[in-house]
């Protein structure tokens, strides 16, 4: 045993490149595994941090709604329940505007707090202060980043405009830009004494929001119930729900989870092929040892030990690399395109994630080596000693049938599964398609070779024929083609996905026929009139909007229903509609009619003429479907109904969205509106900048995803390199024979290049096909994830993929080809 171990170690050390390759692929796949797991907790943490800006640690909030008698209310009723809560914090807020230079204004959201309350709920760290305590009167605290940006210093007296009147505040403290002062959002924030705002509102002793955190052991839902009784005319709700955060992080992390199986798949394949070579190489040794009495168990154990070792080392390396990858991903994600400042990114991961990545490395390694080891142990000692092992892949006629069967089944199954298991099944189908392709590759290759053999005679002469013949049933070349196929297919899948998302995103706003998007808490006709007098505003349009409307027959909530005036609406949103727009406009005048998106149509199986029952304030209302619109706005989860019905049914008073057409530079018009409405709590942006920011925020994700698939491809390319070297070793003898009967060095190189070019070509072509199948299944994976995406195939991308296949394999073969041509004929031919 000891001597066996010695041999093994010696071999590991000698075959440096292969050892590197195996460790590299194990390490990378466990690194990616770790990164995919940890990115979800990191994204969750980021999101929580983001929300902390608004809510701190508060779990429950109370605020006024349109049924409330007043915007302000007393906190004492909540304070009566004090024993249930760690804190009860009443706040006030108010928007103001500040002229930080002669012509430039910025909106400042004033947050009214008691300083003690703030420190309990959403602690701030004061960097410098001057006469901050007692925190009363016209004192003001700002964040460091904002202070720097607008040139505010400690002790500065600033005039803020509130309700047309100017009030002077003194900058009494500057705080670290985190938590409440975390950058991001349209307006800057400042903390002022609550009582000061109450005075300005003439609402002494009252508050506009209450934030609460329950004591240990008190259920949040239970607390909300008892608060609702006291504040029955106000909204009492959770600040953020776990589900919200999970939902958000899911959309970010789902793509990684999708990539992961492919990366693991490629790694398993590389380890598997490497181990096949390792076992083949060890055969003489194993044979010798077995012939002198070593048991199968011993030799198997030894090989297993070797793969175990690779697993452990690869796992440790993987955790390290995974750490680096996570760091990179976190940093990319932290760049928030919605604000100019970069968030300080913090990685979040658990020891379980680290441990499971390490274990995965070990498991992958051992499992992938198992089959080759078992196969070797089945070879009779006699055959090993007499070297009767052939390296030709056996033709099994059931294999291509199984392969094609797997492919077909995996393409069909996702169409018929739904529900919770759908995601898992769809991802498994993706893997099965991969397996199916690999199983079918020998047969596919032979078919290609039959064609190429004919053509090559004319293009490349006799070396072409030889090259084509060499491709037949050659295990190493099959492995290369498989690796290329899977690598190219994954790369195509990711690229098609990201490109489709980009196209779809730009097409959302491609339908927008206006320049500025805005929201005002009291948007109505009167407001529109005020908007129209702003210089540069041509036309305005307001639509009503209701979130999360329950569809009664289908147990589904439509994310947004817009109540619109169809006569004008299509001038602002030029959606493709399933029937004539004029007819739709006419039909809309005849009662409760509804247009839903094609995405909802598919998702819910909605038909024209059908009635959808909506749950409204005034009970159940039936809307008849009269057609479909083609848009992915708000993930395509929208519907349009006549505005008068939505207003009445849902009790809406103000516009949800306001669209503006401008005759001047939209940026300038936007600024003008901002100035004009500086006192109001508005949201405004130009369509152009929304577009670019949408693109950017998606780019982040796809930069990372592309990185992922690139790493997968790199692992694949290394695998191809390895295979070419292996194939050179096993072909030495044949090449020497060819040289001895008169093949020149040039001919050797030519033949090998034709071979590799052809295998690259086949890999690329099959890869395209595989990529297409992956994408077809990904559609269902996305569907299971409640998103839907129209795929846009790009022919150039597919052509590039084929060329990539050819280039990779030709480059990988250059060194072996040169080595082959320089080979010492006699040494290779002698058999001793």
């Amino acid at each position: 045993m000891g001597i066996l171990l010695k041999f093994t170690l010696k071999n590991i050390r000698e075959k440096k490149f292969r050892t590197f390759l195996i460790l590299f692929s194990i390490a990378l796949s466990s690194a990616l595994f770790f990164a995919s797991l940890a990115i979800s907790s990191t994204v969750e943490k980021m999101q929580i941090e983001r929300l902390k800006k608004y809510f701190g640690t508060a779990e429950i909030m109370i605020y006024a709604n349109h049924r409330s008698p007043s915007d302000f209310f007393y906190a004492y009723q909540a304070e009566q329940l004090k024993d249930k809560f760690e804190y009860v914090v009443g706040t006030m807020d108010m928007s103001s505007s500040y002229n930080y230079s002669k012509h430039q204004k910025v909106n400042i959201d004033l947050q009214g707090y008691e300083l003690d309350d703030l420190q309990k709920m959403n602690p701030i760290i004061i960097e410098e202060k001057a006469e901050l305590e007692p925190f009363v009167g016209n004192k003001l605290i700002v964040g460091r980043a904002d202070a720097n940006k607008y040139g505010l210093a400690l002790g500065d007296k600033i005039d803020l405009e509130v309700n047309n009147e100017k009030y002077r505040f003194i900058v009494s403290a500057i705080a670290v830009s985190q938590g409440l002062f975390r950058p991001g959002g349209q307006n800057i924030r400042a903390v002022v004494p609550r009582k000061k705002l109450a005075k300005l509102y003439d609402a002494r002793g009252r508050v506009s929001q209450i934030y609460l955190k329950t004591k240990e052991g008190i259920g949040v839902d239970e607390a909300i119930k008892s608060l609702s009784e006291k504040y029955h005319r106000y909204t009492v709700r959770k600040t953020v729900t776990r589900a919200q955060i999970k939902e958000y992080s899911k959309s970010t992390t789902a793509p990684f989870m999708m990539m992961l199986p492919l990366v693991i798949f490629i790694s398993i394949f590389i380890i598997y092929t490497s181990f096949k070579v390792i076992t083949m190489e060890r055969l003489p040794m194993i044979g010798t040892f077995r012939s002198i009495g070593a048991t199968k168990k011993m030799t198997n154990l030894l090989l297993l030990l070797e793969s175990f070792m690779y697993g452990i080392i690869g796992g440790i390396l993987g955790c390290g690399i995974g750490f680096i990858i996570l760091y990179g991903m976190t940093n990319v994600l932290a760049k928030n395109p919605w604000s100019s400042t970069k968030l300080n990114a913090e990685m979040a991961f658990t020891s379980t994630q680290l441990l499971s990545s390490f274990l995965m490395a070990v498991i992958i390694s051992v499992i992938s080596s198992l089959i080759p080891i078992i196969k070797v142990s089945k070879i009779p000692v006699k055959d090993i000693v007499l070297n009767n092992i052939d390296n030709k892949s056996k033709k099994r006629s059931w294999k291509p049938i199984l392969g094609v069967g797997l492919i077909i089944i995996s393409l069909i199954i996702p169409r018929f599964v739904a529900g919770k298991q759908a995601m898992l099944i769809d991802v498994s189908c993706m893997l099965l398609v991969g397996v199916g392709i690999i199983i079918s590759i020998p047969r596919i290759t032979n078919l290609f070779v039959m064609v190429f053999e004919r053509i090559y005679t004319y293009i490349f002469g006799n070396e072409g024929i030889l090259a084509a013949k060499n491709l037949r049933d050659n295990k190493n070349i099959m492995n290369n083609i498989s690796l290329l196929t899977i690598g190219i297919a994954s790369l195509l899948m990711i690229n098609t996905l990201s490109q489709s998302v980009a196209i779809e995103i730009s097409s959302v706003y491609g339908d927008a026929q206006f320049d500025i998007f805005m929201w005002h808490p009291r948007g109505d006709r009167q407001l529109e009139q005020r908007l129209r007098v702003v210089d540069g505003v041509e036309e305005t349009y307001g639509s009503y909007k209701k979130w999360n409307v329950q569809l009664l027959e289908r147990d589904y909530k439509i994310k947004t229903i817009y109540g619109v005036d169809f006569k004008e609406y299509f001038d602002y949103w030029n959606f493709d509609v399933s029937s004539d727009k004029e007819e739709i406009i006419k039909a809309m005048e005849e009662g409760r009619k509804i247009l839903v998106t094609n995405i909802l149509k598919e998702k819910l199986g909605i038909k024209v003429g059908e009635f959808l029952t909506l749950k409204t304030k005034r009970g159940r209302k039936r809307y008849q479907v009269i057609g479909f619109i083609d848009t992915v706005m708000r993930d395509g989860d929208i519907a349009l109904v006549p505005q008068n019905y939505l207003k009445v049914d849902m009790g809406l008073q103000y516009y949800g969205d306001i669209y503006l057409k401008t005759s001047k530079d939209p940026e300038k018009v936007k600024q003008a509106i901002k100035d004009k409405f500086a006192r109001d709590y508005i949201w405004i942006d130009t369509v152009k900048s929304i577009k670019t920011r949408n693109m950017e925020s998606n780019n982040q994700l796809f930069i990372i995803l592309k990185g992922f698939s690139l790493i997968a491809m790199i692992i694949g390319v290394f695998g191809v390199f390895n295979n070419f070297i292996v194939s050179f070793i096993s072909r030495k003898r044949s090449l020497a024979v060819l040289r001895s009967i008169g093949m020149s060095k040039g001919q050797v190189i030519k033949m090998i290049l034709i071979e590799t070019m052809t295998s690259g070509l086949i890999g690329g072509l099959v890869g395209i096909f595989g990529g297409w199948m992956f994408i077809e299944i990904v559609k269902f994976v996305l569907k299971a994830n409640n998103t839907s995406l129209k795929m846009h195939y790009s022919p150039t991308m597919f052509i590039t993929a084929v060329m990539l296949g050819v280039v990779i394999s030709v480059v990988a073969s250059i060194s072996p080809a040169l080595r082959s041509s320089k080979l010492n004929i006699i040494e290779a031919i002698k058999y001793e």
Partner: protein
Amino acid sequence: MIETTNLYKNFKLGELEVEVLKDINLIIEEGEFVSIMGPSGSGKSTLLYLLGGLDKPSSGSIKVNGKELAVMKDKEESIMRRRELGFVFQFYNLIPNLNVEENVLLPILLDGKAMKEHQGDLDEILEIVGLSDRRKHTPRELSGGQQQRVAIARALINKPEVILADEPIGNLDSKTGMEIMELFKRINQEQNKTVVQVTHSERSAEYGTRIIRLKDGKVCE
């Protein structure tokens, strides 16, 4: 036909320099059937490979058909190997993924000629070596003797003047071995090919017209 003068061959084994062939001077005439004999390790194979240009001598010269091997470029040398020489090795050395026909036609392929035009030659040679009914078999489906016949057919297909064979029957049973020797003899006599074989067995050497004995890298006649 083949002429060597003051031929030396050394191998470096680490620090050590081993002289394997020492001052070999040989002339082999057209139509001869020469057997090189000698104990194991005496340099027989090394000499044969040198004659076929598969390796380079340390010093001295080799002329084949009047041409000096040392000055030839790889391409010329390869062309010479495929047109003027035919190699047969102890371990048949066929290409496993090609069938009998394809293996035999390899030198033609390498010469850039169309396989179809040599169909007649192929038929004739397969007839001579007795493998007409095994054309589509792959090497693994053939016995050792049959594989060696394929190798001989391959060596003959391009109608070379010289056949170089390194222990061609060393791996075969004696009956098959003698059949192969008969084959060489026929080729030598009927087609007037020069045959140079390395052999251990006196019996097979008797098929030839001359014996060259090597001992410790020297010719002793």
